[in-house]
C-alpha cells in the first residue's frame, strides 16, 4: 500500500501532550504541507512517521509499514531531512553521502551516479571532496537533501528546510525542493512559512498540537470569505457599527474601502444593511478571497496554545 495514512496519532512526553488526534492521508506523488507555528508538534509528528519516536496513541502507516512495529522496514523507504543538516563537518561531502549509502547497504558504484546528478543540479558539483565544514548554510542544506535521497526513498520528510537560511539560500533550497516535486516524489514538508507552503505544496494540514484544518492550498484560501465594500468618504467611521454586528466580523478600513471578513457568504446582506443603516453610501460590494495569511492566523488563534 503506497502513501501515508495517519489515524488518531498522538505523542505525549510525560504529562505534556506534544500533538494529538492527527488524522490525514498523503497520496503518492503529493507534496503535503504540515503548517504550524513553533512548538506545534510538526517535528514530533515527523519523528513518529520516520520511526524515531513511538506514538503514545493512534497508528500510522507509511507505504504499508506500521510506525509501531515495522521500524526498520519503514526507515528503508523514508528519507528525513532534519531541522539541522547534521553533516559530519570533518568529512568531505562525498564521504558524508558514502556513509549513508553504507548504512543503507547500497553498492556505492551503483548509486553514486544518481547522487552526483543531484549534486550537479543543486550546484554542488566540484565540491565533493571538500570537508563540508567549509560549506555555506545553503550548501549544507542542499547536501543534506541529497543525503536524504541516496537510497531513493518512497517518501521524503523535509523538516523546516529553509528556516535559518538567508533569503538567497532559502530560494535555492526551495528551488531544489520544487525540482524533487516535479520528479513526482512524495514529500511531506514541515514549515511555519506560509509563502513556502503556498508555493510548494498541493495540500496542507494546519497543526497546533492537533489538526486545525486540512485542504488543498487554494481551497484553504477560500475557507471563509471576505466582502470588499467601497463607500463614499472615509471608510474608517463605519468600523464601529460593523463590529457591533452579532457575528462581530474582523474589519479593515483603508481610504474609502472596507474589507470585512466573513465566516459565511450569507452574512453579506447584513453587512450591507448595517452600513446603509449607519448612513453610508455604498458604491459597490464585491466578494473577495481572503489572503491565506489571514486564514492561517485565524486558525492558529483558535487553536489551543
Amino acid at each position: 500500500m503506497s502513501g501515508i495514512s495517519v489515524q488518531g496519532l498522538a505523542k505525549r512526553f510525560g504529562a505534556r501532550t506534544a500533538v494529538e488526534g492527527l488524522d490525514f492521508d498523503v497520496r503518492p506523488g503529493e507534496v503535503f504541507g504540515l503548517l504550524g507555528p513553533n512548538g506545534a508538534g510538526k517535528t514530533t509528528t515527523v519523528r513518529m512517521l520516520t520511526g524515531l519516536l513511538q506514538p503514545s496513541a493512534g497508528e500510522a502507516r507509511v507505504w504499508g509499514h506500521s510506525v509501531r512495529t515495522d521500524g526498520e522496514a519503514l526507515r528503508r523507504v523514508v528519507g528525513l531531512l532534519t531541522e539541522q543538516p547534521g553533516l559530519y563537518e570533518r568529512l568531505s561531502a562525498r564521504d558524508n553521502l558514502r556513509f549513508f549509502m553504507k548504512l543503507h547497504e547500497l553498492d556505492e558504484r551503483q548509486v553514486w551516479p544518481r547522487a552526483r546528478s543531484y549534486l550537479e543540479r543543486f550546484g554542488l558539483a566540484g565540491r565533493e571532496n571538500d570537508p563540508c565544514g567549509g560549506f555555506s548554510k545553503g550548501m549544507r542544506q542542499k547536501l543534506a537533501i541529497v543525503r536524504t535521497l541516496v537510497h531513493d526513498p518512497k517518501v521524503i520528510f523535509l523538516d523546516e528546510p529553509t528556516s535559518g537560511l538567508d533569503p538567497e539560500s532559502a530560494r535555492t533550497v526551495r528551488d531544489a525542493v520544487a525540482e524533487l516535486a516535479a520528479e513526482g516524489r512524495t514529500i511531506v514538508l514541515c514549515s511555519h512559512n506560509l509563502a513556502e507552503v503556498e508555493r510548494l505544496c498541493t495540500r496542507v494540514a494546519v497543526v497546533k498540537g492537533r489538526l486545525l484544518a486540512m485542504a488543498p492550498v487554494n481551497e484553504l484560501r477560500r475557507t471563509g470569505s471576505a466582502l470588499e465594500v467601497k463607500v463614499e468618504g472615509e471608510a474608517e467611521r463605519y468600523v464601529q457599527a460593523l463590529s457591533a454586528l452579532p457575528f462581530a466580523p474582523n474589519v479593515l478600513a483603508e481610504g474609502a474601502r472596507l474589507r470585512v471578513m466573513l465566516a459565511d457568504e450569507a452574512q453579506a446582506p447584513d453587512v450591507v444593511a448595517c452600513l446603509v443603516g449607519a448612513g453610508a453610501r455604498v458604491r459597490s460590494a464585491v466578494p473577495a478571497q481572503r489572503p491565506l495569511e489571514e486564514v492561517y492566523l485565524e486558525l492558529i488563534r483558535e487553536g489551543r496554545v
Binding site: 512526553f13 513511538q54 559530519y88 553504507k102
Partner: protein, 266 residues
Amino acid sequence: MAFRSRRALAVFWKDFLDLRRNPVLLLGMAALPLVLVVVPIIVVWTYVRDPNDSNLRVIALYYDPTLPLNANAGRFLVERTLLDWFGMFLVMPVFVPILISSQSVAGEKERRTLEPLLASPVTAMELVAGKSLASLVPALIITWMAFVLLCVGVDVVAWPLGQGPMLPNTLWLFGILVLAPLFAFFGNGVAVLISARVAEARTAQQIAALIVLPLVGLVAGQVAGFLHAGPVYYAVQGGVVLLLDVALLWASVRLLDRERLISRWG
C-alpha cells in the same frame, strides 16, 4: 531486528575517518601515553645511573626490609618500579576509549548528526557496536605501541644492569594482551552509557573520567606500599573488570534504544 555487521562497520568506518581528521582529539589521546612511557624510563634511568649509590639501598629497604645484603638494590628498584607502573599503564586503555567514545556518541547529539543517523536503518545495537569498535581499536593500537616504546626505552636504559632485557616479562604481557582489552572495554562501555544520557561530549568525558580515579587510587596505594600488587592481585583485578564488562554490555542492550537516544535532548 537482525544485527547487520555491514551497518556496524559503516559506523566504524565513519568514526575512524572522523577521528583521523580531529587533531585536537588525537593530541589529547597522545598526551597520556607519552607521559606513561617517558616517566618510567626516566625513573629507571635514575636508578641505573649510579648502581653503587648507598641511597638506593635505603629506598629499597623501605619497600622490602628483608632485602638480602648481597642483592642488587638498583635492579630491585627497577623491577619494583616496573611492577608499580604496570597498574598506572593500565589507566591508558581505560582513558583513551573514554576520550573517543564521549566524542563519538554525545558528540553526535551535540552536533545534531544523531537524528539523521537514527532515521537510517541502523539499529541502536549496530550503532553502539560500530562506535565501540572505533574506540577500542585505536585505544588498543595506542596501548600496544606505547608498550613497545616502553620496552625498548627501559631495556636500552637498563642495559648496564647487564642481565638481559627486563621487558617484556610475563606479567606485562598478560596485562597488555588480556587486561588492556578488558579495561578498554570497560572505559568504552561507561563512556557510551553516560554519553547516551547527557547532551554534551565534554560532560560525558568528565563524568566518565571519574571512573578512572579509583584505578589511579589503587596505583597510588601500591606505590605507597599499602597494597601488594602481584600476579594474583592483577588476576583478581582482571576478573573484576571482566564482570563489570558483562554488566555494562547487559546495561547497554537494555538501555540504548532509538527513542531514548533521541529524546534526551529536548
